[in-house]
Symmetry: C2
């Protein structure tokens, strides 16, 4: 992958801690700054500290949850860093799920015009999707990831042992993105996953993560700035982000994976209308996704709000709703224009 901002070697699967130690000692970093949240501070930092020999690292703890991806938290982070003498030779280790890596990736990319950052994803969502591909960002005005940039970390360390710190709900959350990857690119993989619906056994997850990483990085490498092809990774996310946006300030909780599971169902239904689908495809997808959508359901009175949120999606252009659909499972098509009527009809016709 020379000549691109990528290198396979950036992602450490084998002996990850030895390789990280080697980077940290080879580069003459002045300081180590760890970003975590209350969960990873408790469940992952002790393990990590046992693997690495870190002298007196600075530790910044984010509140748990999506609300931490805010400008206010960025300000708190930058202030903490500068008050503690962080300089351009500081390296930051982001230890957590997608919220922690998205947040830290953005904050470090613009602190002193950029300091080095290394991601240590601790969730299945992070290892299989969020920590990969260099999308960083925070939410703004209740819109998801409106402020951010494309910037790869120096390295990503995958430690499957962290999967043991996760609940079934958290594993399900991340597994949705693995299903999505199979659906947009790899029909045999999709068939394989369909044969054993629901969450697979923990011991096979590392191999599924590897597959996800390989697939996602292939796409990202071809279109880092998402000018075209990379948009296929957004399958399920147009509806998904809209649901998340709507619920951001609500007491109803919807995990990102649950929102995307809904999105995959909605966008498959839409795909079936737009393209020539065999009759069994949509029911197969819906059946596969149902165990992942959780308890909450959208009500008819939510539909106008969902439409409103979809009209501010980052992929939209010239005021039109643009999304990725599937011509058939395994064949994604990005840049498809979808009008408000079709969104409404989808929301009305898909029942859960």
């Amino acid at each position: 992958m020379s000549g691109t901002p990528f290198a396979d070697s950036l992602i450490f699967f084998q002996q990850p801690w030895e390789r990280l130690s080697s980077i940290l000692s080879r580069t003459s970093y002045s300081r180590i700054l760890i970003v975590c949240d209350a969960n990873t501070s408790r469940h992952c930092l002790p393990f990590m500290m046992g693997q690495l020999n870190l002298e007196n690292p600075l530790i910044f703890e984010l509140p748990i949850g999506e609300h931490s991806k805010s400008l206010a938290e960025c300000e708190r982070f930058w202030r903490f860093a500068l008050e503690n003498g962080v300089d351009r030779k500081t390296v930051c280790l982001a230890v957590g799920g997608g919220v922690v890596t998205d947040f830290t990736g953005f904050c470090t990319s613009v602190l002193l015009r950029g300091i080095d950052c290394i991601y240590i994803p601790t969730s299945l969502m992070g290892m299989a999707d969020a920590a990969l591909g260099g999308k960083t960002g925070i939410n703004f005005m209740q819109f998801k990831n409106q402020i951010g940039l494309f910037k790869l970390p120096k390295a990503i360390l995958i430690e499957p042992a962290f999967l043991n710190t996760l609940s079934e709900a958290e594993l399900k959350n991340g597994f949705v993105e693995i299903i999505k990857h199979s659906l947009i690119q790899d029909p045999p993989f999709w068939e394989e996953l369909r044969q054993r619906p629901g969450l697979p056994d923990r011991e096979i997850l590392p191999e599924l993560i590897r597959k996800s990483v390989r697939f996602k990085m292939e796409i990202v490498q071809k279109d880092f700035y998402e000018t075209g092809l990379r948009q296929i990774l957004n399958f399920g996310h147009s509806f998904g982000h809209a649901l998340e946006g709507m619920l951001l300030d609500s007491t109803d909780e919807l995990l990102h994976g649950q929102a995307v599971a809904f999105g995959i169902i909605y966008e498959s239904w839409l795909s079936a209308q737009k393209f020539t689908w065999r009759p069994q495809w949509f029911p197969q997808i819906k059946e596969m996704m149902l165990p992942f959508i959780g308890e909450w359901r959208p009500e008819p009175e939510d539909f106008p709000t969902i439409l409103k949120w979809m009209s501010v999606d980052k992929k939209n252009q010239h005021g039109k709703i643009i999304m990725t659909l599937l011509e058939r499972p395994g064949l994604p098509k990005f840049g498809v224009e979808v009008n408000a009527d079709m969104v409404n009809k989808t929301l009305e016709d898909c029942n859960f």
Copy 2:
């Protein structure tokens, strides 16, 4: 300059408005968003609007002055943009001096993970220095440019007619960076400038701007992310930024160019102590810079504050003050470690 984020063609000197029009019509931008301040809104936008055929552009006006490079203004800008339906296909035109281009460069680089931006510098400082080289940023916690990133605009348009909108003080402000460029790289150019001290006639400024642009872009191209060589452009800026930082919340006004003029004197004095300088070099430089420092003078009681500000310079590493000095005029040396005693002695020994 292929294979780098640069292209000479990015900088429009000849028929700049025709070339800009051609870019705007070739690229199917959904919207045009202009960022200006009250000065450029009044003195430059009417001229620009006469040159370009813009349909219903959005206009965002920054308050005048360095204080606009704040997170609060970024937030106001992002809110304005999103509330007005800006999407990824929007192009932003930054019309103003260094404050406007630094601010707009940063804000647009992280809005929706980056929208296109074109710089139209209207000050001599902007045309000869600030708008070049892709350093964007805002001030934070009263430190200059602590939050920002390296990102080149799509194009930079140089219109010397805008120089006629500037006062002598504003021209002097920008001319300091031209002198700096001559001092660090081009002894014959430095001798040429020395032959006619003070501000040169307006009609020769376009040629001096061209020289500055060519020189600066050569350096920037070799070391975009300022890992080494590019630091030579910071000559005069270690002391300069410290003076600016100290005065940011004061009623005393010091323009960036005035601060750098002080910085060039201080850092030349320090260079003369560190290296073998001929006795006439320092007095020549001091004499050349004196017309550019303005009315304000640092007092002995300011010295500890100046030292404190220097200790938070972005170039510092491992807690040590690092700056660029001159082994002799025309031969810069970056990464020189300077201790607190030397800073104090410099402040004490240089009288104005």
